[in-house]
C-alpha cells in the first residue's frame, strides 16, 4: 500500500516535471518558428540561441506581483487557474508513450481523456466571470460557446477511431495501426481532429476568446504573475495533448516502419510525431487571421460536426460491409478534397474573379480617357 503510494507520487511528479519541460521547449519552439516565418531571429540573448529564454520568462512570472482586482470574486478568481490546470495534467496519466510506458494504462483511456478535457471550460468561464472585467466576461462567454461546440466533432472523430480496433485503450489503438496508420484510412478524421483540436486549445485561427485586438486577453486579462503562468502552462500542455493524441490516434504512435522494436525508439517516435504536429499548429498561427465568433460557430456546427458524422458513417459502412481499406481511404480523401474545394470556390474564387473584373474595368477607363485627351 505504502509502496504503491510512493510509486504513484514519484510517477506523478515525474509526469509534471516532464510536461513542464515540454512546455518550456514548446514556448521556445513557437517563438523560433514564428520568428523564422517572419524573417526575424527570435530570442537570441539568454543562452545559446535563446534556449534559456523560457526559463527566464517563467522565473520572471513567478516573482511578479500577483494582483487581484478589488471587485473580483476572489474564490472564483483564485480557483480558476487550478480548474484549468488540473484536468489538462490529469489527462496525461493515461497517455502512453510506448507499449508499456504510461502512468496508468486504462481500458477506457480515450473516454477518460475526452471527459476530463471538457472540464477546463469551467475554469475559463470562472476566470472570465471572477475577474469583474467586461472584456473577461465577453471572453469567458465566448470560450464557453466555442469549446462546447468544438468538443462534439472531437468526440465524433474519436468514436470513429475507436470503432476500428474496437477499443478505447490507447495502447490497443496504436497496436491496431501496425499495418497502416489511421491517418491513411481516415484522412478526413485527422483533418477534423486537428481543426477542432486547435479550436479546443484556442489557438489561431480560433483564438477568439483571448483575441488580442478585440478583448485583449479575454478571461486572462486581469491575471498576472504565477496565476497567469498556470494558465499559460495549461494552454501549452493542451496544445501538446492535441498533438500527442493526433500522433497516437492517427499517425501510428510508436509503431514505426523499418525501426527496431524498442521502448526508446517508440518513445522517440511519438515525440517526433507530436512535435511535427505542434509545428503545424504553430505554422497556422503564423499564417491565418482569426475568424469571427459567429463564423467560428457556424464553421463548427455547419461544417465540422456534419463532416465528423460523415466520417463516422464512412467508418461504420466500412466495418459493417467489410469493405476494403482502399475504399474507406479514398472515400475519406474524396470528402476532404470536396470540402476544401467548396470552401475555395465559395470564398477565394469569386474574390479573385471580382478583382480581375474591376482591374479590367479600370484599365479600360484609362484607355478611353487618354484617347480623348489626344
Amino acid at each position: 500500500m505504502l509502496r504503491d503510494l510512493i510509486v504513484i507520487t514519484i510517477q506523478v511528479f515525474a509526469l509534471v516535471t516532464a510536461l513542464t519541460a515540454v512546455v518550456l521547449s514548446l514556448v521556445w519552439l513557437e517563438r523560433k518558428t514564428l520568428a523564422r516565418l517572419q524573417r526575424r531571429m527570435g530570442p537570441m540573448v539568454v543562452g545559446p540561441h535563446g534556449l534559456l529564454q523560457p526559463v527566464a520568462d517563467a522565473l520572471k512570472l513567478l516573482v511578479k506581483e500577483d494582483i487581484i482586482p478589488a471587485l473580483a470574486d476572489k474564490p472564483l478568481f483564485w480557483l480558476a487557474p487550478l480548474v484549468v490546470f488540473v484536468p489538462s495534467f490529469v489527462i496525461w496519466v493515461t497517455i502512453p508513450f510506448a507499449q508499456s510506458f504510461a502512468v496508468r494504462n486504462m481500458e477506457l483511456g480515450l473516454f477518460f481523456i475526452v471527459a476530463f478535457s471538457v472540464l477546463s471550460i469551467v475554469g475559463v468561464v470562472m476566470a472570465g466571470w471572477g475577474s469583474a472585467n467586461k472584456y473577461a466576461v465577453l471572453g469567458g462567454l465566448r470560450s464557453a460557446a466555442q469549446l462546447i461546440s468544438y468538443e462534439i466533432p472531437i468526440i465524433m472523430v474519436v468514436i470513429a477511431v475507436i470503432m476500428l480496433p474496437h477499443s478505447m485503450n490507447l495502447v490497443t489503438i496504436v497496436e491496431g495501426q501496425r499495418a497502416i496508420p489511421y491517418a491513411l484510412l481516415q484522412p478526413l478524421g485527422l483533418v477534423i481532429f486537428l481543426l477542432a483540436g486547435v479550436a479546443e486549445v484556442g489557438r489561431t485561427p480560433f483564438d477568439i476568446y483571448f483575441a488580442e485586438s478585440e478583448v485583449m486577453g479575454g478571461p486572462f486579462i486581469e491575471y498576472s504573475g504565477a496565476h497567469w503562468a498556470v494558465f499559460f502552462l495549461a494552454e501549452y500542455v493542451n496544445t501538446f495533448t492535441i498533438a500527442v493524441l493526433a500522433a497516437l490516434l492517427f499517425l501510428g504512435g510508436w509503431a514505426f516502419p523499418l525501426m527496431p522494436e524498442a521502448t526508446w525508439v517508440g518513445f522517440l517516435g511519438v515525440l517526433v510525431k507530436a512535435y511535427l504536429v505542434v509545428l503545424v499548429i504553430f505554422w497556422f498561427r503564423g499564417t491565418f487571421p482569426r475568424l469571427r465568433i459567429d463564423q467560428l460557430m457556424s464553421f463548427g456546427w455547419k461544417v465540422l460536426i456534419p463532416l465528423s458524422f460523415v466520417n463516422f458513417g464512412l467508418t461504420a459502412a466500412y466495418l459493417f460491409y467489410g469493405l476494403s481499406r482502399w475504399s474507406l481511404a479514398l472515400a475519406s480523401l474524396f470528402v476532404t478534397a470536396a470540402v476544401a474545394y467548396t470552401i475555395y470556390r465559395r470564398m477565394t474564387w469569386p474574390a479573385r474573379a471580382t478583382a480581375e473584373q474591376r482591374l479590367a474595368k479600370a484599365r479600360a477607363y484609362r484607355r478611353v480617357e487618354t484617347t480623348d485627351a489626344r
Binding site: 467586461k134 489561431t204 483575441a211 499564417t287 465568433i293 474574390a351 482591374l359 487618354t370
Partner: protein
C-alpha cells in the same frame, strides 16, 4: 430580434436603452470602452461601444487626445515654419502633408515650381503613399489576427524610409518641401536607390495578395463587413481609398491633376461593395499604381533647378485660397487666408482621417464587436490628423 437604426433609442446617463431588446428580460446591453489604450485603436482613439451579446447597438467615438492646436499655431508661424507643423498631422504620410501647404502658398503667390522639384515631389509623395499603405496592410492584417504580414510590411516601409532619410535627412519628420520647390537636390544615386528598393516592394505587394488578400479566413472576416454605398459615402464626406472602395471614382490626382499627375499613366482602382475587403483591396492596388508612377517619373526626370526664385521669407498677397491633394488617407485640403503678412491670417485644414472617421458610426450599424475593430482599421485613420 431586429436592431433599430443607431440613434433611435432612449439614452439616460450614458446608458442607452434600445427598444429592440426584450423588455421582459430587462437586459441592458454591455458598455465596453475601447481605447484610448487598446491595441486595436491605432493611436489614442477611444470609442465607447454598447453591445448586445456580440452585436453592436451603438458606438460613440471620442477624439481629441492628440489635439495640439495646429491650426492656431499656424497663425503664429512663418510659412516656412508651418511646413514642420504639417509633418506632424498625418505622421505616416509626411511628404503628402507638406505638399498641400506648399501648394496653397504657391497658388496664392503664383509661383511656378521648377520641373525637377515637381518630379522629386511626385516621387516622394508616391513612395510615401506606398509606405503608408504598407503600414495599413500590416496593421489591418494584425487587427484580423494575422501576425506575420506586419513584419513583411514594416520591412518595406523601412527601405522606403531609408531613402527618405538619404534625401531629406530625416526618416519621419522630413521638413523637405519648400514654398517654390524642395530644400536640397536629391542625392546622386537617387534613381538607382529607388530602382533597387522598388523590386522587393513589388514582391511584397504580390506576396500580400498570396498571403492575405485572397485568404479564405480573411475574406470571411472582411467581405460584406462595414459596407457603405457610394451615395452615403459621398454624403458623409468620405474620401480617398475608402470612398473609391464604394465605387466612386474620385481621385484628386485624376480629377484635378496637381504636380505632374497629368503626365503619368495610372489607373484608379475602385471597388463596388464598399466593404472592408474592398477598402483593403483598393489600397493594395494603389500601391502597385504608385510603383508604376514612380518608375515613370524616374524615366522622365531631368536635371535642373530645384527651387523657384522666391523671396527668403514668403509673403503671399492678400487673398484666400484652397488647395487640396490626394493623400494616402483621402482628400487633404488647406484653406489659407492671407493678409499679406509673412504668416497666415487663418489656416483651416480639411483632414481626410477626421472626415472618414465620421462614417464609422454608419458602417458599424449591425456589426459584430470583432467587426468594429476591422471597420476602424479599414478606415485607416491617423490620430495626429483627426485631432490636429
Amino acid at each position: 430580434m431586429s436592431l433599430l437604426p443607431l440613434g433611435e433609442k432612449v439614452r439616460m446617463r450614458g446608458i442607452s436603452y434600445p427598444m429592440a431588446i426584450d423588455k421582459q428580460l430587462d437586459s441592458l446591453e454591455l458598455m465596453i470602452n475601447v481605447g484610448p489604450q487598446h491595441p486595436a485603436t491605432h493611436g489614442v482613439f477611444r470609442m465607447v461601444v454598447w453591445i448586445d451579446g456580440e452585436r453592436i447597438v451603438d458606438v460613440e467615438p471620442h477624439i481629441g487626445y492628440l489635439h495640439r492646436g495646429t491650426e492656431k499655431l499656424c497663425e503664429g508661424e512663418q510659412y516656412s515654419q508651418i511646413i514642420t507643423l504639417f509633418d506632424r498631422l498625418d505622421y505616416v504620410a509626411n511628404f503628402n502633408n507638406e505638399l498641400v501647404v506648399c501648394m496653397a502658398a504657391e497658388k496664392l503667390m503664383g509661383t511656378e515650381v521648377p520641373e525637377r522639384a515637381q518630379y522629386i515631389r511626385t516621387i516622394l509623395c508616391e513612395l510615401n503613399r506606398i509606405a503608408s499603405h504598407m503600414l495599413f496592410y500590416g496593421t489591418f492584417a494584425l487587427d484580423a489576427g494575422a501576425m506575420t504580414p506586419v513584419m513583411y510590411a514594416f520591412r518595406e516601409r523601412e527601405r522606403i524610409q531609408s531613402l527618405f532619410e538619404a534625401t531629406s535627412g530625416a526618416r519621419l519628420m522630413h521638413n523637405y518641401f519648400r514654398i517654390g520647390g524642395v530644400r536640397q537636390d536629391a542625392p546622386d544615386d537617387f534613381a538607382q536607390r529607388i530602382t533597387t528598393l522598388l523590386e522587393p516592394v513589388k514582391e511584397t505587394i504580390a506576396e500580400a495578395d498570396r498571403l492575405i488578400t485572397f485568404n479564405e479566413a480573411f475574406l470571411a472576416r472582411t467581405r460584406d463587413v462595414g459596407t457603405i454605398d457610394g451615395n452615403t459615402a459621398v454624403a458623409l464626406g468620405l474620401t480617398g481609398p475608402s470612398l473609391r472602395a464604394s465605387g466612386v471614382e474620385y481621385d484628386v490626382r485624376r480629377t484635378e491633376p496637381y504636380l505632374l499627375y497629368d503626365r503619368l499613366d495610372f489607373i484608379v482602382p475602385t471597388g463596388d461593395r464598399g466593404d472592408c475587403w474592398d477598402r483593403f483591396w483598393v489600397r493594395i492596388r494603389e500601391m502597385e499604381e504608385s510603383v508604376r508612377m514612380v518608375e515613370q517619373c524616374l524615366q522622365q526626370m531631368q536635371s535642373g533647378p530645384i527651387m523657384a526664385p522666391t523671396r527668403r521669407i514668403a509673403r503671399p498677397p492678400k487673398g484666400e485660397v484652397y488647395a487640396h491633394a490626394e493623400n494616402p488617407r483621402g482628400d487633404l485640403g488647406v484653406y489659407l487666408v492671407s493678409s499679406g503678412a509673412d504668416r497666415p491670417y487663418r489656416l483651416k485644414v480639411r483632414p481626410p482621417s477626421f472626415c472618414n472617421l465620421m462614417s464609422m458610426k454608419h458602417m458599424m450599424r449591425n456589426a459584430y464587436m470583432a467587426d468594429a475593430i476591422m471597420i476602424l482599421g479599414s478606415l485607416d485613420i491617423v490620430l495626429g490628423e483627426v485631432d490636429r
